[in-house]
Amino acid sequence: MSSPAPTYDLGKLHGGLRLDAHKSASTGLPVQSLPLPAQLILPIDQHAGQPAQPLVGVGERVLRGQLLAESPGTLGAPVHASSSGKVVAIEPWPVVSRHGDPAPCIVIECDGDDRAVESPEDPVPYTELPADAVLHAILQGGIVGLGGAVYPTAQKLMQAAACKLEYLILNGAECEPYISCDDMLMRERADSVVSGAQILLHALQLDCGYIVVESDKPEAIRQLASAMTDAADERLVLKQVPTIYPSGGEDQLVQLVTDREVPSGGLPTDVGCLVQNVGTAAAIHDWLQNGEPLISRITTITGDGIANPMNVRARIGTPVAELAKFAGGYTDSARHLVIGGPMTGKSITTDRVPVVKATNCILVLSDLRAPGPELPCIRCGECAAVCPVQLQPQQLFWYACADDERKLRSHGLIDCIECGCCDLVCPSHIPLTYDFRMAKARIRELEDEKARAERARRRFEARSERLQREQHERETELARQKERARQAGPDAIAEIMKRKQRDEGD
């Protein structure tokens, strides 16, 4: 039997930060079930990639788990109704992915019965299905990466299946402060995580899976170890990584666990690894073993702007305001609403946005970050010391100010993972992450522009070439006719002239 004790043999991560965790505030209570809200707002696009198309119309009654929107082919991920009720609108609604700007959403008025669609028949045990059938089944469940990137899981798995893989890595690091939804999931449903890992190993035909947890989650590690003992699966290994932000970044986790660097511009699959969030693994288990598609998730609602921080299981589509109300409401100091963690989350202006598949944390903060004046860079180098990718942010900043695209590229701007470490330690309070995001956008714009110009140039060249060719053809044709006429002699010319006159006469 495999030993479930966590192992520590680790690669090195450059830099990183030890941040105050602020997690215990939200881990005091078990995960609470949020009562059904009156309305559910389901954005049609909750994933990266191809947009989904709605399959229901306004006024239609829907059941829990019913398919509401689907992407064409195997790209994208379907959206399911999180509860039963009536579709009252398909309209733009503020969403997180657009920083609170509106995007098309299906609005369901819940009837409160929470009736589920009838599952066709008892699901076939996945172990009896071939690997690609399991992948296809995962696609049907609307499952996306729950760590935050919301890449459609089936798509990621299918791409990975085409690569030479060695390890499945389940990411339970959860390195950003305040967030504790994965921690609570691992504490309360470690067996589902382990089962999800087994399904993934089966689907990818792998025989080595690491479940990786940061060392500041002893209870989660205990529960996982116990669940792994029960599962008695030789393929699974529990790994503990140090509590250093951003150990949970996909590439950083790969580096920590396998001592392999994901090549610049590449994916973990390039070094034989596939990373999945522990929440995604549990969602896969729920779908394949219990027939429950991804219609709810655990979300941490916390921060000094929330009266009773906690973790709740909320239906996808529940407005953030409902969660805040459930958690005792906002405190007087609440100033900022952040969806995600305090390092990489998105600041949103309204709490009307719904919880989506990507919403791991709702963070309400008072004015924590004093907006001191931005001073010149003093080249102290702290940013470079903490950069997990070993960039030199101080140099990049210099080139970003000068808009020196070539230098920005050669100094690795594209490799910046926007973790925010440099920002936090900068004594001059320069918003480096923001500046780099902007510089990246400018480079992308420039690239687009270049591509457009290149296309226009090629079109122009093709056209001039065509014209030239036609001109040339006309000239040779003319010369040929002249030659022929000359050889044929005056009679022939007279004949031609006559014919021409006749033609014109018609």
Binding site: V262, H336, S347, V364, R369, I378, A385, G420, H429
Partner: protein
């Protein structure tokens, strides 16, 4: 409810420039007290004059450049320049020399290059070198340290103030009575006179490692420096680089020829070597960027200090060593760029 929008990250920054500069100043306090104890109150007058000139120069330049002066003054960087200058200059320095050095440091070396963060040269050292070139006689005049055993004339508070303001000694005193050769001067002169290091070390101005007084100031500078290293304001690369660059050649030469080469300890505890290692060379603006680059930068400074002291005309060499290495920074930065994760190394190509 509606909320204010911000850009990530949302956590409070962990440091600020003014805080760093203030801690650097604080770290100099023990050495300043020792300095006043051994060399009299001159340092205080230097500090006042240099601070006034630096702040005035900073405010003037910010104004001329059309920027708010308040934010530049609030970062305390001008005060650090003033403090380093005050330490570098002899404790008996007429005010116009100090002011010249300070104004050159701030106006030319700092603001004409673009102000804080953009200066290529260490402002304090640039100012010091200008004073050294313009007023060589005054800058080689050091009062004798408080030694207790010989007939040296210790200047009172008022006498020091009078000298600072007028450049004249009190009537009955001569330069020879109040000043002594510094240990580095004594060593250089002695070696030129074909005396052995042992003979020179027996002079009354010499202490256990360096000169009397000097070595104690050095100890307190090291205390302040280590405190900054514990506080992570100064990383170890530059101090260790300076130490290695100075001590390794000094040690090798001393082992080969102890009679004609001063010991590594003497090098470290004489002149401004320790001040340079912990406070001058560690100015981040004019130093190299990467950790490896900083070690090389520091080692270069150490080596140059040794070379200038051993073969050069200047007795200490710290200021020249720093300025020369300032010029080398772009080249060092270029060759010591860290390898970005995912480029080469054990990263397999996609």
């Amino acid at each position: 409810m509606d909320f204010e929008r911000r850009e990530a990250p949302y956590l409070a920054p962990t440091a600020n420039v003014a805080g760093i500069m203030q801690q650097v100043l604080l770290a100099l306090v023990p050495a300043a007290i020792a300095h006043v104890w051994f060399f009299g109150p001159g340092l205080i007058f230097n500090l006042v004059v240099a601070a006034a000139a630096c702040i005035g120069g900073e405010a003037l330049m910010m104004r001329l450049r059309g920027r708010p002066a308040a934010s530049a003054l609030a970062d305390c960087s001008a005060l650090v320049t003033a403090a380093l200058l005050a330490f570098a200059l002899p404790s008996l320095t007429p005010w116009w020399i100090t002011a010249t050095a300070a104004l050159f440091a701030i106006i030319v070396a700092k603001h004409l290059y673009g102000g804080l963060g953009f200066n290529i040269f260490n402002p304090a050292m640039a100012g010091y070198v200008v004073a050294l070139v313009a007023f060589p006689m005054h800058l080689n005049l050091w009062v004798a340290p408080r030694m207790g055993d010989i007939d040296y004339q210790f200047l009172t508070f008022l006498q020091t103030l009078q000298y600072t303001l007028t450049g004249n000694l009190p009537d009955m005193l001569t330069y020879d009575q109040v000043s002594r050769a510094t240990p580095l001067d004594a060593m250089k002169a002695g070696l030129n006179d074909m005396r052995t290091t042992a003979e020179i070390r027996s002079l009354p101005v010499m202490g256990d490692f360096g000169g009397v007084g000097w070595e104690w100031i050095g100890n307190f500078i090291a205390v302040g420096g280590f405190w900054l290293m514990i506080r992570r304001i100064v990383r170890w690369h530059i101090p260790l680089g300076v130490g290695a660059g100075l001590l390794v050649p000094a040690g090798v030469m001393w082992l080969l020829s102890p009679g004609t080469e001063p010991s590594p300890g003497f090098h470290m505890f004489s002149g401004a070597a320790l001040l340079c290692a912990f406070f001058i060379a560690t100015d981040p603006v004019s130093a190299a960027a990467s950790p490896k680059g900083r070690f090389i930068y520091g080692a270069g400074i150490g080596l140059l200090i040794y070379a200038i002291r051993t073969w050069g005309a200047d007795v200490d060499g710290v200021a020249y060593a720093v300025l020369i290495m300032n010029m080398a920074v772009p080249a060092i930065d270029r060759i010591t760029r860290p390898r970005i994760v995912g480029h080469g190394g054990n990263a397999r190509s996609p």
